[in-house]
């Protein structure tokens, strides 16, 4: 049953690939004109059209695109003159590192804070945290990034201003370069997750089993951590997992602040350079990745709560 559920990701992933195809091939606007400009000689245009396979019927292009994607053949970048797969293999680890570090930071901050504020609901601490999270939801991640950069790199000089260090150069350098970007990316997500955990724990604390636990004389600490939190964790895992997709999206923008050579910069540079095969493949890879993560979250949710499979 679970396997069947996980297989549900396949049509969604095809959908993602289709989306990348439709957006860039079917929407008005001729990619060749985009690439060469309006005044390009017709001969040159037709050569490029042929080499990109754009002179074939649309459905043929679509099938070829799906099959190539399945075999990991992502085409050749028009601006870098190397296979897109090579570029993606270089850039994807950066973006995934950033998103994973942000997710870890989000959970590490939001979980204790959410439980604390739920336990002390409407105390000054709780109201203060809620106000801060409300503000956190209102500011864009790249602005948080700029402010962090200003404080820790420009004023204090504690952390590097720009760039990325692969894990191969040692975990310390890697972490130093990722700390500020992941902090910027995590801020809004942590604000959102804190509010969610708080609401989920508060809801559990109002249930009958909590009253029963109190009735049999269980300590508040035990009720909170061993009973209410455990039940509140089930929806929390889903929400946290689904944030990963948004973190990948947010990473595109935050990479630009910190000069991280990730997928976001690849896509943005591809758009500037009108590099159609690059943008198309990079968008498809990111979209399929989001699908895969969502399916994984769904699986975790089902393992944690077997009632859903019944």
């Amino acid at each position: 049953m679970r396997i069947v559920r996980v297989l549900g990701v396949v049509p969604t992933a095809i959908m993602a690939a289709t989306l990348a195809f439709v957006l860039l091939r079917v929407l008005p606007g001729d990619p060749v004109t985009l690439l060469l400009g309006m005044e390009a000689p017709p001969q040159e245009a037709s050569v490029l059209r042929h080499s990109l396979g754009l002179d074939r019927p649309l459905w043929e292009q679509y099938v070829a695109w799906l099959l190539d994607l399945l075999r990991g053949r992502l085409g050749t970048s028009l601006s870098y003159h190397v296979p897109v797969a090579t570029l993606v293999a270089e850039r994807l680890p950066v973006t995934c590192s950033l998103a994973a570090a942000s997710l870890a930071l989000t959970v590490v901050v939001a979980l204790p804070l959410g439980v604390l504020t739920a336990a002390r609901a409407w105390s000054p601490v709780d109201v203060g945290v809620l106000a801060v999270t409300q503000a956190g939801l209102a500011v864009p991640s790249f602005w948080v990034g700029i402010l962090l950069l200003l404080l820790f790199s420009v004023v204090l000089g504690w952390l590097p201003l720009q760039g990325y260090a692969p894990l191969g150069q040692g975990p310390w350098e890697w972490a130093r370069h990722l700390l500020l970007p992941s902090g910027a990316l995590a801020a809004a997500r942590a604000a959102q997750l804190t509010r969610f955990v708080r609401a989920a724990v508060l809801e559990e604390l109002g249930r009958d089993y909590v009253r029963a636990a109190r009735g049999k004389g269980l300590g508040e600490r035990s009720i909170l951590l061993r009973h209410a939190l455990r039940n509140a964790l089930i929806p929390t895992v889903t929400v946290a997992g689904l944030q990963f997709g948004y973190l990948l999206g947010g990473a595109i923008v935050v990479e630009q602040v910190f000069g991280l050579p990730g997928m976001g910069r690849l896509v943005v540079q591809g758009i500037y350079a009108r590099d159609l095969p690059l943008v198309q493949a990079a968008v498809a890879v990111l979209a399929v990745l989001v699908c895969a993560v969502n399916a994984l979250v769904d699986l975790c949710y089902r393992i944690m709560d077997p009632r859903l499979d019944a």
Binding site: P11, T12, M15, A16, L19, A20, L23, L24, L27, G29, L34, W122, V127, L130, A131, Q134, A135, L137, A138, V139, P140, F142, W143, I146, L147, L149, L150, V154, A199, L202, E203, G245, Y246, L248, G249, G250, I252, V253, Q256, V257, V267, V268, G270, I271, Y272, L276, V279, V283, L286, A287, V290, C291, N294
Partner: protein, 278 residues
Amino acid sequence: MRSRNLPLVVGALLLVAVAGATLVETVSERDAETRVDVAQRLQPPSRAHPWGTDDLGRDVLVRVLAGGRIALEVGTVAVGLGATAGVPLGLVAARIRGWPSGVLAYTMDALMAFPAILLALAMIAALGPGHVQAMVAIGLVLVPAFWRLARAQALVVWNREFVEAARALGAAEGRLLVRHVLPHVIPVLLVQATTAFSGAILSEASLSFLGLGSQPPTPSWGRMLQEATAALGVAPWMALFPGLALGVTVLGVNLLGDGVRDALDPQMRRVLPPGSIV
């Protein structure tokens, strides 16, 4: 309506302040936001330039206020586009059966699974960078959310007894939809519209920050922040004030949305006492 709905009041006040300040700037001096004065470049905040000047000597305060116009325009156009396309589609989808409805539902759900910025980027790649393109891309990204909510709400309302009663009295489908179903869908959509509005402003800022939204010299807040990153060490005020304005505006819209939700459905927020500012 609740007598003391603090988020509604504070959110509305913030928005009125932003819109008012923008309006004052619009009517006061023509094209002041793009006036270059190289002699005055990168000046720190002073009496003449309360929020300092940027790398071309333009007044940051004037540009931030002009940026408010862009932000409110983007929010209005994108939400308008998303709602006018998504809501009718959703209402119709609630009435159709069989595989077309299934395919539509699957497509919309799949679209909603992707991060908005990724969809908007893909659309910008197809349409080309620009202010109008960004608004259109953001508006189209909002369609599935409006569609889903309108459909879900309409599905419930279509089966209510008062709709049955009106039908029994001989009301045509179109009249049922407009006079009986739609009024019950609109309140929920209002809350959705505020969420979409703040999301649209943030998305536009992101796109402009990437250089794919409004182009120079248009003073979009995202664009201003991008220009600020180049002069971060020498002119931090260039980074501070556009972001602050963006945050205050989004906060205002978010609070307004919370307030509208509290006012319309007090039961929706049992966990948080209604009318609370946080």
